[in-house]
Point group: C2
Chain length 159, copies 2
């Protein structure tokens, strides 16, 4: 029953470009796999914490509950952020983009978002200025230290 209510039919289908961009109707444009891109930022620092995907059900549950739900492409499953680790995301605000194929959520992140133990998945910087012909010379620079032990938080499971 819940699956029926929360599938893509729960949302009105995308209309023409004008309504999509300038209207007030929420008509998410799911891709061929039924997914939107979701970007979560830290409501306090503004840092991007993670980029993931939501299917219609994850989007509906996130809107309804104010807690972040995603769809895992690798596990092919709906997934409440923090369901294993306790590292949930309370959504402070949700925005949708011009063509309604991406959402941005500002969240209060408990402990850390990344399954590697960092607060953000974007813990490495890519140095700028490397010559276009020499990309293999670019060395990533670590910027954020772990904030939790992933083995303790997840056991053997993925986040």
């Amino acid at each position: 029953m819940e699956g029926d209510l929360a599938d893509s039919a729960a949302f009105a289908p995308p209309a023409g470009a004008t309504e999509l961009e300038d209207g007030t109707a929420l008509t998410p444009k799911f891709d061929s796999e039924g997914l939107l891109t979701a970007v979560a930022t830290d409501a306090r620092s503004g840092d991007v914490l993670m980029v993931a995907h939501m299917d219609a059900q994850a989007l509906a549950k996130t809107i309804a509950t104010g807690e972040a739900w995603y769809y895992s492409r690798s596990r092919r499953a709906l997934w409440k952020k923090g369901e294993t680790s306790g590292h949930t995301q309370r959504v402070v605000e949700m925005r949708i983009d011009c063509d309604q194929d991406a959402v941005w959520i500002k969240v209060e992140q408990v402990v850390g978002a990344c399954h590697t133990g960092r607060r953000s998945c974007f813990y490495r910087a890519v140095p700028l200025g490397t010559a276009e012909s020499n990309m293999r010379a670019a060395k990533l620079e670590f910027r954020d230290a772990p904030v939790f032990d992933p083995k303790a938080a997840y056991g053997k499971r993925a986040p």
Copy 2:
């Protein structure tokens, strides 16, 4: 020649999970279409400006030049942000995520990023708390006013 240098062979192929997540080698994991997800945030405000894609060439050019380049899926073309409108993005910092399939760039955005005339593509909020069974009742709320006239900036072209 440039195309040869800048294709995905310009980057080393992704290694195992440990090296991918804990190493310093830049080994981007392009999807089946040869793309990464790219999130651009305003270096000053922290706001998410846009979500787009980069192919290997766009990524290499962004790293090399410090200006944002993307790949347009609809136009199937490499695209320098602002090439038509002048609304370029100077990259202050680039980060890559744990599994190297998404990059986050902090940018200095000239005027506005969105082809609709707003500074950010995420100019509408999705109200939280709508019942999961009643998603069609969710009404988007406009948060950001236009900062430029898209007709003047782009003529008849897409951004």
